[in-house]
Amino acid sequence: MSTPEVVSLDRKGAPIWGTLIGQFLKALLALAPLLVFMSIFFFAPLWAVVLDSFKSNEGNFTFANYADVFKEPIITAMRTSFGLAMVSALVSAVPGAVLAFLIESRGSDRLRQVVASISGVLANTGGVPLAFMFIASLGAEGAATGLLKAFGLDIYGAGFSLFTFWGLVLVYTYFQIPMMVIVFSPAIHGLRREWNEAARTLGATGRQFWANVGIPLLFPSFLSAFLLLFASAFSAYATARAMTNGTIALVPLMIGNLLDGNVIFDEVNLAKALAVAMIFVTLLAMVPYIVIQRRAQRWQR
């Protein structure tokens, strides 16, 4: 069922804003506060970055910065960043969704309060403090490493290292899982018990309920949250910088090196082109998402 537009009628019953332009203007009005806010504090800075990305060091117009994006080592960095974001999002989205479900459906109100508070805090940890926490626990002389050794598990002997791609994924889960819990919980919050009961009355098993009602209902929200996790892992800078020394090719690190470094000072516009390129990659990643969303719309009330 497609969502009917809320159409205002004048006294005689004729639609006032019925025209296409009218609809569009009405939308513009409704979105105006957010758009104006974003324009000043986000799009204006972004536009400055975009403009500069097309400039050479002398200030002339050029595509050279974007041409460099496709060369090594940047293209490898793009691939690694994308891979890291996808893997990290996947590894965090599923446990996060399961945890959210368990807490929302079976937890008490107090528990949900506590979870919401701590998830908010954890979802925003990052950078040096987060890196240190993991080094203190899973580093070569970490508390957890020692504990595991006491149980006979020498993870470092087996080749484990925090400062690799997978180590980074592990560290990212620390803030990504809580992020998932916070963003996905509201979806489960609204899942009605009656639907489960109704389905059962009609003879569905628990699995059938989930396969045909529950999961399709939750899927758009899940995907939306997943996309958020992906974007946050894709652009994560402080944590990667604290943990890797540049030996893992990541785009945000390169941007940081070129914009806020002590060695290279004449590739500022390249860094800006990289930032714009990241937006394009995200746009590409959103295409399958929008397609699935459109199809899932019919489940929405």
Partner: protein, 401 residues
């Protein structure tokens, strides 16, 4: 009448005399410190101190306390002259300093900057002369001409050498860069950052290059060395910071000698025993860091006094040694009581830019033991031009090391 005439003449001569006096004595308030280009045009050291005290504040930028003992320099300057120092983003980069000068609003402008030479090359040309203000400190002539601008637009202040900082528990104790490949050091070797982003790790790669038979024009052996260290598990990607060291993430790092005293002291307070050694197979000296006064400096007199202080060769009192009696001194007397900035750098383990002059004049104090260039060692210093080639190679290969 006669009396009236006398009074009139007296009054006229008094006026004439005061006019003559007024013309011949330049009024102190008329000096524009923002346009002063040396001590003379600033009206002398006494006047400069007075004006700086009046301004009451100094904006510095990206100066960590443990870096070449800047903490002591700031404390000493602050205590002696009663000038409050505001340090914007102590851990910030040279790029941040330049960006701030270019874009920050007037209230946030730094008075002075301390940037890497490469940053200077990045802004040199049509733009740079407009970023900084010309000022020649009293000892300007003694600064090597290679490291200063003719007009006093910018000037080098200190530099250091790369050494090995290692935990006392490491066995055998490393003495050369090539020792780092020893299998005993598995999972223990780290750099303080990304060589594409930091001068310290970048110079460490040069050190490896020299140790492994490369040269200042050929940094490839250095990159290859770290690649092999990574392959055999010695080199780990963690950042060599004090916290990570205390947490045991790494045990050996390559660092500037002027950062080591601070690191060792900090580690001791946290219960760890850190040692430092200058490698015997490669002594790499960094290019001097560059001082400059911001053309848009909000506190012009304080900025110039700070530069005079940093280039002062005086032996004198540290901030801990200053007494209340000392603080009652004024102007140049007070200035000459305190330890000069160049010697403060020495106390932090750095090599001051005026070292040759200070040695000749016997004004050099003894720095902490164990951080100096060993006698007779060959010192390699990659020039900014040589660094350009090195940068290209490192930035291309490091991300896929």
């Amino acid at each position: 009448m006669n009396l009236k005439r006398v009074v009139a003449v007296a009054a006229a001569s008094a006026i004439a005399l005061s006019a003559v006096v007024a013309i011949s004595t330049p009024s102190q308030a008329a000096i524009n410190y923002c346009k002063a280009t040396d001590l003379k045009t600033a009206g002398g050291l006494d006047a400069l101190v007075k004006a700086a005290k009046k301004e009451g504040a100094l904006n510095v930028i990206t100066l960590p306390r443990d870096w070449a003992n800047y903490g002591e320099a700031m404390d000493l300057f602050s205590k002696a002259f009663g000038i409050k120092i505001n340090d914007d983003n102590p851990d910030g980069s040279s790029a941040y300093e330049i960006q701030t000068i270019k874009t920050a609003p007037a209230a946030k402008q730094p008075d002075v900057v301390d940037i890497g030479v490469s940053a200077l090359n990045g802004v040199i040309g049509a733009g740079s002369d407009k970023l900084f203000a010309d000022y020649k400190v009293a000892n300007f002539a003694a600064i090597p001409s290679k490291w200063k601008s003719e007009s006093g637009n910018w000037y080098g202040d200190y530099n250091g050498i790369i050494g090995i900082a290692y935990d006392a528990s490491v066995s055998p104790a490393p003495t050369k860069i090539s020792d780092l490949a020893n299998a005993a050091y598995k999972g223990q070797v780290a750099l303080t950052g990304d060589p594409t982003a930091g001068q310290e790790p970048f110079m460490a790669v040069y050190a490896a290059a020299i140790a492994k038979g490369g040269s200042l024009d050929n940094i490839q052996p250095g990159i290859d060395f770290f690649k092999s260290l990574k392959a055999n598990g010695n080199f780990i990607a963690t950042k060599a910071t004090p916290e990570n060291y205390v947490a045991g993430a790494y045990k050996i790092s390559l660092t500037w000698n002027f950062n080591a005293p601070g690191m060792i002291a900090g580690a001791k307070a946290a219960g760890k025993n850190l040692k430092f050694v200058v490698p015997s197979d490669a002594v790499i000296a960094g290019t001097p860091y560059i001082q400059a006064i911001n053309a848009k400096a909000p506190h012009c007199a304080a900025a110039r006094l700070w530069e005079e202080f940093l280039y002062s060769e005086n032996k004198g009192k540290t901030s801990a040694q200053l007494t209340a009696k000392d603080l009652k001194l004024t102007g140049s007397k007070l200035f000459n009581t305190i330890l000069g900035g160049q010697n403060v750098f020495v106390s932090g383990g750095a090599t001051p830019i005026l070292q040759a002059d200070m040695t000749a004049k016997k004004k050099l104090i003894n720095g902490p033991d164990g951080f100096d260039v060993p006698k007779g060692a060959k010192v390699y210093q990659p020039s900014p031009d040589q660094q350009v080639g090195g940068k290209t190679l490192v930035s291309a290969q490091w991300p896929t090391l």
